[in-house]
Symmetry: C2
Subunit: 487 residues, 2 copies
């Protein structure tokens, strides 16, 4: 398969996150020049249009279950749409026959098929932005009114693949339509239907081992967390049948009956909080944003490895699907253990006693902070603590990358300008930084540790998350491989 | 005192809300032409700059305690700044002497004084927008670096009045600085320090008479309400010493032990929900927005009554202060009764039984809605139900207007274009409407009833709120009158 011109024209070493962002964001205004024959419409057309919709749902792209389901369905639509142009592949949700090899001598048909498939996936995920999805097709000269399902034409293949995906996924257990629980009116998409209720309230930690929703907000308008999408654990995975296959050991140190260990792991978090470096803060913010960390590292790797369009689609679907399937297993364990977060344990242990820790934006380390007022550097996420979801996603992503790309080499470089922190704007970092991840192992280890440095996780949560993520990646790779073989 | 040209140039009958909005919003870009000698810088300069800051805190301007405190402090700064130009008045927080009558032959000195006073109030309320407040002064040729406190000059008077106000109000009990409870780090401005905790959770109505926080949010990201600023009841009022003077009767129908009455008042809400008209929906949305209802009706009345600049300031401070002092008494009663909202009572009474009611945006009235899924037309506010805060604010505002303006006449007209609803965009109203409020009595009655039509209040909450609002307005008027007399 021919390599698109675009990939050849850029030397991998000069690719950095900001450059990728420019490439991904700018084409949205310049798609009239998109080259369907040689370009990569997934990266250059679909992603730029989809990103604003994802950020509308999750302004810091940190709401992983929702972000990952969207990116997985979009990349799945690409995979299914181009399967007929592969020598042996079948789609996950469709088997649309086989097209002769001469139809994929350039990227035209693959791009048209993936664009129409994306149109259906995006309309299903973000129906209120239908005009954006129409504009996306029109930007490259395609007609949104083309509803062909003719399997000898790329538009018909894309439409068929997209519609089959939507039909299979709209009721996959995530409650995308808000209709679970036999609900007809006032449907709330992605609402919990498992009746999860925390044992603690934001006002009282009645069980110090269990999760306590945090108070969030500012300027007088405060709200209390609700466990985000507890139904993720009941959602249909791609690459395995039952998430019970993936179990974590119980978080024994989070059990207050083991008080020595309970206090020791909280003290570790305090110590990390008191000694955070600018580089640790920058990494914590990078990995909190799943688009900038997971999403763009994959785009970066695709460029630097000079993947063809078809290869990019396989790889991007694989990494997203691996993280999505990981989330299902992790949410099962989060719900099962319902474990306490550091902020609750530190308040419980120290109360009005003074501790040494980060004192808030621009305050540095302070020595007279009440334990009950300790706050993590990153805002604490709205789900139980154990295992670490971010650690698991990075581990799934890195392992899937190693399996598909055949190497641990990465070379991802993220520039962090002075004062660009979103937590400490103007203050942090005190000088320009470059975050460098030579290998996928560096990427996953830094991702994992950043959840501890930033105070949202205890240490034992990290290996528990990593192990499940690494393992699920193997299943995801096997699943992709089977689909490529037409099984 | 001379009437500014602007007021004369407009015929009151042609003033509508949208026209006022244009006048108030557009000058922000055209202040270089502001006429300090004849214009009204409060309306034409300060309000346009302040509105974005208020909407940043409260996107629908429905968070009344926070919105009212901001508008009251701003209008208070105007009052105190122009007091020296009045024959007898003193400021609330400063007594800056008396200026000779020839210094207020036109509006120049009053405008300069109120602009500098506003600068201090706005910097205190919204410190992160300091560049806006500098731009506000610079837009009319004033220097933000002018820190004069020379009481023979308008800038010095404005600075002195503003600084005295800020010093008196920064620790007034609302916790503007987040320092209440001896808090040094991670200060959360306007956070509760009274340790309010609801007896019910969003998950379980353990006491059906008491307030239950609602689940809010969309697209999978849900959060649970926290009672907004419970400390409002401990905040320093202007016009009376102790809010215990203002008591409401207990909400006996909200006590589930009176089950017949409990059910009857819930059925009234259901019936209203099933029969809402487009006009009722439009009124509900108007009165939910405290800027468009309270704020602009006062600006409208000032225009139509051709108030001078000094009169406008007295009147606008009075109406805001009356509502602010009302909020303190109402919050005392809300906390004391901690009463259940209709959505909880209807779910408790009917559970899975089907009811007839509004079925959601664009659904109209439906006949097969589970009681547990009933939802009010307006999003339910984040505080206990009884008494109605909005009813009390409109009653305070209307009564203060009648007392100051000497008449019940109003003539306020609000055009509502087809499909402009924020709850049912595109659907409601089905044709262009005009909401007409011939008198302040019409204004307050419609405001009050709109809280019942829209499902956020039971009927008995309305008179309970109205009575406190009407009464506090009398105290507020007496307070203003004393300040005007120099007492």
């Amino acid at each position: 398969m021919s390599k698109p011109e675009l990939f050849h024209s850029l030397h991998p070493r000069i690719l950095t996150l900001s450059l990728i962002l420019c490439m991904v964001i700018i084409p949205a205004k310049a798609n009239e020049h998109h080259d369907l024959a040689n370009g990569n419409a997934a990266i250059e057309v679909v992603i730029p249009f989809a990103i604003p919709a994802i950020f509308e749902v999750s302004p810091t792209a940190s709401d992983a279950t929702l972000v990952l389901r969207a990116t997985t369905l979009i990349t799945n639509s690409w995979f299914d749409a181009v399967a007929p142009y592969h020598p042996t592949a079948v789609g996950v949700y469709s088997n649309l026959g086989r097209r002769p090899a001469n139809e994929s001598e350039d990227n035209t048909n693959l791009n048209i098929a993936l664009l129409y498939a994306s149109y259906h996936a995006l309309n299903s995920l973000f129906p209120h932005r239908n005009s954006d999805w129409r504009a996306m097709l029109e930007s490259v000269g395609l007609d949104p009114e083309n509803t062909s399902t003719d399997l000898t034409e790329p538009a018909g293949i894309g439409n068929s693949a997209g519609m089959a995906l939507v039909a299979a996924r709209e009721n996959d257990g995530m409650n995308q339509l808000g209709n679970e629980g036999d609900r007809t009116y006032h449907r709330a998409p992605y609402a919990d239907y498992t009746d999860y209720a925390p044992v603690n309230t934001a006002y009282e930690l009645s069980d110090p081992s269990r999760w306590q929703p945090a108070m969030t907000g500012s300027n007088g308008l405060f709200k209390i967390q609700q466990f985000v999408t507890p139904q993720m654990r009941l959602t249909e995975p791609y690459s395995y049948h039952n998430p019970k296959r993936f179990r974590a050991r119980p978080p024994v140190k989070s059990n207050v009956r083991n008080y020595g260990a309970y206090r020791q792991q909280a003290d570790e978090v305090l110590q990390a909080s008191a000694s955070m470096t600018d580089e640790q803060k920058a990494k914590a913010e990078l990995f909190d944003n799943k688009i900038n960390s997971l999403g763009f590292s994959a785009v970066f790797a695709a460029f630097s490895q000079q993947l063809s369009l078809a290869e990019f689609i396989q790889y991007d679907f694989l990494t997203n699907m691996a993280a999505f399937d990981t989330a299902i297993a992790i949410w099962q364990e989060k719900e099962r253990f319902d474990a306490v977060r550091p902020f609750s344990a530190i308040a419980y242990i120290y109360g009005d006693e003074l501790v040494t820790a980060w004192g808030g934006p621009g305050q540095g380390t302070v020595y007279d902070l009440k334990g009950s007022e300790w706050t993590s550097y990153l805002p604490v996420a709205d789900h139980p603590e154990y295992p670490s979801a971010s650690a698991s996603f990075c581990a799934a992503h890195a392992e899937a990358s190693r399996l598909y790309l055949g190497s641990d080499q990465l070379g991802y470089v993220v520039p962090v300008p002075q004062g660009s922190s979103r937590i400490e704007p103007g203050f942090t970092p005190t000088e320009d930084l470059e975050l460098v991840f030579p290998t996928w192992s560096d990427f996953e280890q830094n991702c994992s540790m950043s959840r501890f440095w930033s105070g949202v996780h205890f240490l034992s949560s990290l290996p528990a998350g990593e192990r499940i993520g690494n393992r699920v990646a193997g299943y995801a790779y096997r699943f992709l491989d089977a689909k490529l073989k037409g099984e």
